[in-house]
């Protein structure tokens, strides 16, 4: 039997996944002009990959428990698209031809992703609020 707290747990896993996405977006935006990284070359934008993970509980006799799954960030992948080449011969990271490769971060794209993540987060918060409302009306039974 799945209860109020498992619903909150599932929603919370969605919230933390969206927060991870928010962090990668922040990282991408902050590094949109970083031309030097620890492993050489310009910064490459990163993306989280979400996957469905089984709810780590045994709910004997419950059909629904198989349908409920947590959200987990399975990995963070690097975007392999090439960055923009800008002619800046005076730049210390310029190649012999005088071009500097900037990160493949598109600020508009990141902004759109940020809005999506933020809305998904709000949806998760709403579903937690809704579960709380249900728990409250259950407590009010017999009052």
């Amino acid at each position: 039997m799945l209860g109020v707290f498992s619903a909150m747990e599932v929603s919370a896993s969605g919230l933390s996944a969206e927060r991870t996405r928010m962090n990668t977006i922040a990282s991408n935006l902050a590094n949109s002009h970083t031309t030097r990284t620890a492993r050489g070359g310009p910064y490459k934008r990163i993306d989280p990959v979400f996957e469905a993970a089984l709810l780590d509980r045994t709910h004997a006799g419950s059909q629904a428990s198989g349908a409920v799954s947590l959200v987990r960030v399975s990995k963070i992948v690097e975007d392999s698209r090439p960055g923009q080449l800008v002619y800046e011969p005076g730049h210390p990271d310029a190649n012999p031809a005088g071009y500097v490769e900037y990160p493949n971060v598109n600020v508009v794209e990141e902004m759109v992703n940020m809005l999506t993540a933020s809305r998904a987060y709000e949806a998760g918060v709403t579903s937690i609020e809704s579960v709380k409302g249900m728990a409250k009306s259950a407590i009010d039974i017999g009052r």
């Binding site: 799945l2 969605g14 996944a17 419950s62 629904a64 349908a67 959200v71 809704s130 249900m134 009052r143």
Partner: protein, 143 residues
């Protein structure tokens, strides 16, 4: 002339509450499933699930027995002791995106809100059922 004795059959006082209890269980369980769908709004390849109400009178449950399996290849009958509140199914009718995710946030949020209202209604019904019992227990004076 002997007067007949009117024998009252024993009545379970809470027989009116039991089906409502099952309805509360079902809606809470369904809330878990719908919360999981909303949490997976960004998970690639995720197909939203839903929970269908199981018909009350499946054959073995009406009899209160467990169907015996004479071969391992037979489908398992319902366990007599474990009530099943619903049957999970995949509800991927809303058009999927390029990442194979079929979750429509509006649809799921609508289902979630509907489910909450239904839960609240059932809990109000339970309250009034119990208030009726209280009224009867107090000789119709208070409650």
């Amino acid at each position: 002339m002997a007067r007949g004795v009117l024998l009252m059959r024993p009545v379970d006082l809470f027989s009116g509450v039991a089906p409502l209890h099952a309805a509360l269980d079902y809606h809470l369980e369904r809330h878990n499933v719908l919360s999981s769908n909303i949490a997976h709004v960004d998970t690639p390849g995720y197909r939203p699930k839903d929970l269908a109400r199981v018909e009350e009178g499946s054959f073995d449950r009406v009899l209160g027995v467990t169907i015996e399996r004479t071969s391992a290849a037979h489908l398992a009958g319902g366990e007599a002791g474990t009530p099943e509140v619903g049957r999970a199914f995949t509800d991927a009718t809303a058009g999927g995106g390029a990442d194979g995710n079929y979750v429509s946030l509006e649809r799921e949020a609508g289902k979630l809100a509907t489910n909450q209202i239904r839960y609240d209604i059932v809990s109000v019904l339970v309250s009034s059922e119990l208030r009726g019992l209280l009224w009867a227990a107090n000789d119709g004076k208070a409650g």
